[in-house]
């Protein structure tokens, strides 16, 4: 699956492989068919109607259908895959009204807003206060720089080194939003998102991102 690194190519992307897939006889893949087999065989003896058979099938299927939300730190119990979309939109689309970045929890959103858009926050950082909170709820450590917080996440909480809390917004993001507005067809919930329209806010964003750039020097603690 992992490939040799080629210039500009993803490292280790598991490309689509056209291969046969087999399943063992008791694999969950075959479960509904197995249930169907037994129900049909007993249906005549028990005089079950189609309707009752369907109800039974569904009951059995539901018991295997439980799973948990895969967003880090959530773990909510979901009863169906259809549920996930609703759950995600309700719980994990806290979006920043200034730069439209989306975060999976309101806590992370508020951390982002402080770090990216609050000049007061930056002022305190410049004066040497430990302002960068650990992202893991319950761990109350704070750090003086983005980088050292990042290191802590990797060392103590096993985050991958590729994790970036403040991902550079692709300049295309603004373009996309302009395009979306023109088309008038939003699939994303706009409820918590104010559109970035003013030049002044744009200016603020770029100023803040410059500050953060400066912060990423290796000697910063």
């Amino acid at each position: 699956m992992a490939m040799d690194v080629e210039e500009k190519e993803q490292l280790g992307f598991p490309y689509w492989k056209s291969v046969r897939r087999t399943f063992g006889p008791e694999s969950p893949f075959f479960a509904s068919g197995n249930v169907e087999r037994e129900l049909i065989a007993k249906q005549v003896a028990l005089d079950l109607t189609e309707d009752e058979k369907n109800k039974l099938q569904n009951l059995v299927a539901k018991e295997c259908g439980v799973f948990f939300c895969p967003i880090v730190g959530c773990g909510s119990r979901l009863t169906s895959l259809e549920d996930f979309e609703d759950h995600y939109n309700a719980q994990h689309t806290a979006s920043c009204s200034i730069c439209s970045r989306v975060y999976p929890t309101s806590r992370l959103l508020s951390i982002h807003v402080s770090e990216a858009h609050d000049s007061f926050f930056q002022a305190k950082v410049a004066r040497g206060y430990a302002m960068y909170e650990c992202l893991v709820e319950g761990c109350s450590l704070k750090f003086k720089s983005y980088k050292s917080r990042q290191q802590h996440l990797v060392d103590k909480h096993k985050f991958t080194t590729s994790f970036e809390f403040f991902k550079k917004a692709h300049s295309s993001k603004k373009q996309r939003q302009k395009l979306q507005r023109k088309q008038g067809t939003h699939k994303r919930e706009e409820a918590s998102c104010m559109e970035v329209e003013n030049e002044s806010i744009d200016g603020l964003v770029s100023a803040v991102s410059k500050l953060i750039q400066r912060d990423k020097r290796p000697d910063a603690t």
């Binding site: 699956m1 490939m3 993803q10 280790g12 992307f13 598991p14 490309y15 689509w16 492989k17 056209s18 291969v19 046969r20 897939r21 087999t22 399943f23 063992g24 006889p25 008791e26 893949f29 075959f30 509904s32 068919g33 169907e36 087999r37 037994e38 129900l39 049909i40 065989a41 007993k42 005549v44 003896a45 028990l46 005089d47 079950l48 009752e52 109800k55 039974l56 009951l59 059995v60 895969p70 967003i71 880090v72 730190g73 895959l81 996930f84 979309e85 995600y88 989306v102 975060y103 999976p104 991958t160 590729s162 994790f163 692709h170 300049s171 295309s172 373009q175 996309r176 699939k187 994303r188």
Partner: protein, 518 residues
């Protein structure tokens, strides 16, 4: 099993004699949420409620009196067992008839409702006495009734089935050619229930030599015994240890018998034999190899084309699926593009995809995906068939598990056969056409789902689009369908592989420079 031709014509009087109240209550019981009841209905064990030998028992009328309280039933059962014990002890005149009558009484109590008083009978000590009734030289009627009682005891809970352990060697012994057909069939039924319980009991049966006599019972050309033996065997070889399956296919004459039975018009027989093929092909490479060399594939395809019986279609389709999945020869040597059989296979799979049944649809898509994983010619064949418009529709509208299988078919059509570890080559013609016909939103939907496998499949397809669409159209197309949004969700996903995949794609194709030229 109770649903035989012989018993079928007797079913009319049963239905008409049942009062609405009793039937209603029975239905309510059957569909009740009670976990145990639900489990008993989907367990691989079957109660014997109507006689195999077709004796003209008045019992059928009494069968419908289920208004009796469970406790009364249990009391009657205990006394029936006691009664049986005393007849066994009795040595005087008419002892045999007394014994048979006592057995019959117990058997009736155990066949009455779908929840027989098994526990009560075990508590009263039924097993040792039934074992005694199975001794060699006993008259057929006695053997039959004893085996019938054991059958229904074995259809109960796990610990109840396990209680049959002392009886197993005798039950196996009575499978032999010297037993009457009805006795051997009833014993096969009991053993089928024991095998259906689980791996542990299966292994006990195998070590006690149950396989060979049951296999021999499948060799004759007709009779309900063949069907019952096939069902019992399907429970016996279902593994997970493949040894039994491999042993079975090697039994002299068995492969030939399977082919013979698959040709027959008897749907119920073919159904049970097809299930044997399901397990043979799922577990044993030896069996798969041998099956593929016979006419079995042809016969399976024919049945899929002509039958409308769901209980037959399920194992037949799955057998076909296992043979395609398990052995490369199936697609390389038999289902070669250009041959009539190959066209027919696609046709019957489309028929299954068009059916109303979820199981048939999903498993048919799975089979198609494996054929689509064959040679370039296979992909071209499917691509230009009537399957594709149907698959595109299903990708948008079908339930989740079917959409996932459909995704595998479509994706396999766009990628050349995998060779080595390198990046696989795209079949651009197929990719461009399928994307042009609107398949991308369906894949992006899979990316959004909470299912790891589906998200992975969706991301892999997106990579194909991003890389393979001509004139650099890929990124724009993905963006238009909110694909970037779907990928950015993975930033906080707990699965590292998916995170890396998604981040990798976004970084590579939607980096800083993206969109600046617009």
């Amino acid at each position: 099993m109770a649903d035989e031709g012989l018993a079928a014509h007797r079913r009319e009087p049963i239905k008409s004699s049942v009062s609405n109240v009793a039937a209603h209550r029975r239905r309510k019981n059957a569909a009740t949420v009670g976990k145990e009841r639900r489990e008993s209905l989907v367990r691989a064990k079957r109660l014997c409620r109507v006689g195999i030998s077709g004796d003209t028992d008045v019992f059928l009328e009494n069968d419908m009196m289920i208004d009796e309280e469970q406790s009364i039933l249990e009391a009657q059962t205990s006394s029936a067992v006691e009664g049986l014990k005393s007849t066994v002890a009795y040595q005087g005149k008419g002892a045999m008839q007394k014994r048979v009558n006592a057995l019959r009484e117990l058997r009736r109590l155990l066949s009455r409702s779908e929840f027989p008083p098994v526990e009560a009978s075990l508590k009263a000590g039924a097993i040792p006495i039934l074992v005694q009734c199975l001794s060699f030289g006993s008259p057929d009627e006695q053997l039959l009734e004893a085996a019938w009682c054991l059958t229904n005891i074995a259809a109960g809970k796990p610990e109840e089935t396990e209680a049959l352990l002392p009886a197993l060697p005798l039950l196996i012994a009575h499978l032999g050619e010297r037993s009457s057909l009805s006795v051997s069939e009833q014993c096969a039924w009991a053993l089928g229930n024991v095998a259906g319980e689980g791996e542990k009991l299966r292994n006990v049966l195998l070590s006690q030599g149950a396989l060979l006599p049951l296999a021999r019972m499948m060799l004759p050309n007709k009779g309900s015994t063949v069907r019952t033996a096939a069902w019992a065997l399907s429970n016996l070889i279902k593994g997970p240890d493949p040894k039994a399956a491999t042993e079975l296919i090697r039994v002299d004459g068995l492969l030939d018998a399977i082919v013979r039975h698959l040709k027959k018009a008897d749907d119920e027989l073919t159904t049970e034999v097809a299930w044997v093929v399901v397990y043979l092909s799922a577990l044993s490479n030896v069996a798969t190899g041998m099956l593929v060399k016979t006419d079995v594939l042809q016969l399976l395809v024919e049945r899929l084309a002509t039958s409308n019986s769901l209980q037959l279609l399920i194992p037949v389709l799955r057998s076909l699926g296992n043979l395609v999945a398990g052995d490369p020869n199936t697609t390389h040597a038999v289902l070669v593009p250009g041959r009539e059989i190959t066209d027919h296979v696609i046709e019957v799979l489309v028929k299954c995809l068009n059916s109303e049944n979820r199981v048939l649809k999903k498993e048919a898509a799975w089979v198609l995906s494996n054929i689509a994983a064959g040679s370039v010619e296979h992909k071209q064949l499917i691509y230009s068939s009537e399957a594709v418009p149907l698959l595109l529709r299903l990708l948008s509208t079908a339930p989740f598990d079917l959409r996932k299988e459909v995704a595998y078919v479509l994706g396999n059509l766009c990628v050349a056969p995998t060779e080595g570890d390198g990046k696989p080559n795209l079949i651009c013609e197929h990719l461009v056409s399928l994307v042009g016909r609107g398949c991308l939103p369906g894949f992006i939907d899979l990316v959004r789902s909470a299912d790891t496998e589906a998200a992975r499949v969706g991301l892999q397809f997106m990579e194909l689009v991003l890389r393979g669409m001509p004139h650099g159209e890929g990124p724009k197309l993905v963006e238009r369908e909110d694909g970037i949004d779907a990928m950015e969700r993975f930033q906080f996903h707990e699965n590292e592989d998916l995170r890396n995949m998604a981040n990798g794609l976004v970084d590579t194709y939607f980096g800083e420079d993206y969109g600046l030229d617009d």
